[in-house]
């Protein structure tokens, strides 16, 4: 209570309005938004890694059609604005999703959060595919042959031998891309996902405290980037095996 009173008096005396620190409603709203943002970031990171894992495998496929499709996907997603991609997914593909009766109105099975995860995942996944592929190319041919000699199929050797090695080689590049993805998740604002940016906008619209909310946004995102970079370094250390720098 002491704490809340301090910020209330700070507002009364100086005009600095950190409203979420003394009003329960705004506090809950901001906390919820932080949580939605974290969920959005984790979900799209995970989805982009899955896309990258499958994509890198498909790029080495025997079928020419699969390879060409992958190349087209990568080029298209890397060379168009991610914001337009999100809008495209939400407004175009979102229209095709069946709806259900959610108590008085029709709700789609995939909401704006889902579309944000899908489009951001495909966007970052295109970069991840290329990153993993460069890692796979670094794995020596002899390792591949050794796996084949031991009776591994192409898929099994990819899953158990090639990818684990390739993954370690390309971690630094992956690190860059994931930081990029984290920053790009703010674009989900454009399709009204109630994440940090969107809620901050609502709070400053209600309380006219733009500079204060901006400070919060900067601390939040720069902090998240720092945490992600730190976690990736830790992970990298933990996965270290002899023979890998």
């Amino acid at each position: 209570m002491e704490f809340a009173n301090f910020f209330q008096s700070l507002y009364d005396n100086t005009g600095w309005n950190f409203v979420f620190l003394y009003e329960q409603y705004e506090y809950d709203r901001l906390l919820e938004a932080m949580w939605v943002s974290v969920k959005l970031i984790i979900a799209s990171l995970f989805f982009s890694l899955v896309v990258g894992f499958i994509g890198a495998w498909a790029q080495g496929a025997k079928s020419r059609i699969i390879r060409y499709t992958m190349a087209g996907y990568i080029q298209l997603f890397r060379n168009t604005p991610p914001f337009v991609q999100i809008l495209f997914f939400y407004f175009v593909l979102g229209n095709l999703v069946p709806t259900y009766d959610a108590g008085g109105y029709q709700a789609a099975y995939i909401d704006s959060f889902g579309w944000a995860v899908i489009s951001l995942g495909f966007f970052a996944g295109a970069f991840n595919t290329e990153i993993f592929r460069s890692g796979i190319e670094a794995v020596p041919e002899s390792t591949r042959e050794a796996a084949e000699a031991l009776g591994y199929t192409r898929l099994k050797s990819y899953m158990h031998i090639i990818f684990p090695l390739a993954f370690r080689v390309c971690l630094p590049a992956l690190n860059n891309n994931l930081v990029n993805l984290l920053k790009t998740t703010t674009l989900a604002y454009g399709i009204a996902v109630p994440e940090m940016m969107y809620t901050a906008n609502q709070i400053w619209s209600d309380n006219v405290n733009v500079p204060e909310m901006m400070i919060v946004l900067f601390i939040y995102y720069v902090g998240l980037v720092a945490i992600l970079v730190y976690a990736m370094h830790k992970w990298e250390k933990k996965m270290k095996i002899p023979g890998y720098g």
Binding site: T80, L87, V92, S134, A138, R168, A173, T186, G245
Partner: protein
Amino acid sequence: MDTGNGMSHSTANVDTSRGTDLPVLLPLAAESRQAALIERREGTYRLNMQPRHLLWLAVIFTLVAASAQAATPAGLIGPMEAIWKWAPFILWGPEGQLTGFALNLIISFFAMILGTVAGAALGLMQVSLLLPVRQGSWIVTQFFRNSPWLVLLFTIMLLFPFEIDLNSIGIDVIIPVPDWIKAVIGFSLPVMANISEVVRGAVISLPSGQWESAESLAFTRRQTMWMIILPQCVKRMIPPWINWYCILAMSTPICSIMGVEESVTFTAQALNAEGDRPELIPVFYAFLLIIHFVYTYPIARWSIQLEKKFVIKT
């Protein structure tokens, strides 16, 4: 995703002091680490597409348009007709003003100029001999390159005054600041930070022999910088500079969130004017993706060519 456990158990007994079980991978890992460092500095816009792929793009667009044509109710205009009707509006806005996609380009030009000038200054501060200058500029650089572009854009759009009143310094002039100029400033901040890193990277990537031989020829630090180091850096900085321009050009659509009258805003308005017909939406957004692609693609190709040309043999 942690695939490391099984691996580390099997290698637990390997005596690593006498070398490793996979020495062949070490140089490759070091190489990719180095490449990642450079990529972080220069942006990740890299493409290896051939001109024939553009043909495929056209085919896909035609298919989308054809399926939209089939879904068009009788009596309403078809997708190609609608695109033809609205393309001038999306590309350069209503008669007599440069808005729409043209505004995207204008914003990207000015933001690049502003960001380059500020970024060059910040980058040179990062290689200063004075510790406070170096540390201060490092903090500024890291702050702006690790903040989301949208947050920076919002900050400028909302906190920058909509007009500057020069009355306070005795001149009776009020300078209006339209939204697109604020967008220019907002976009120039992340560009500044990234160009700053490009400059710093180029300066420190030069062999130290350049500095030492300049010193032995009695060049002062300032002379060494301007007459020896920077002229060599310019060549190295051009490809990443173009690269950052491409990234910037692809980011300009986000200012439509704040209602700047650029291509995405106008596409939404054009769709609205056509009654938000569901079959038209994919065609219009595909058109939007394609015009952005057609603009950035040749520039990116050019950057790759320059890079190959400027590669420094060591």
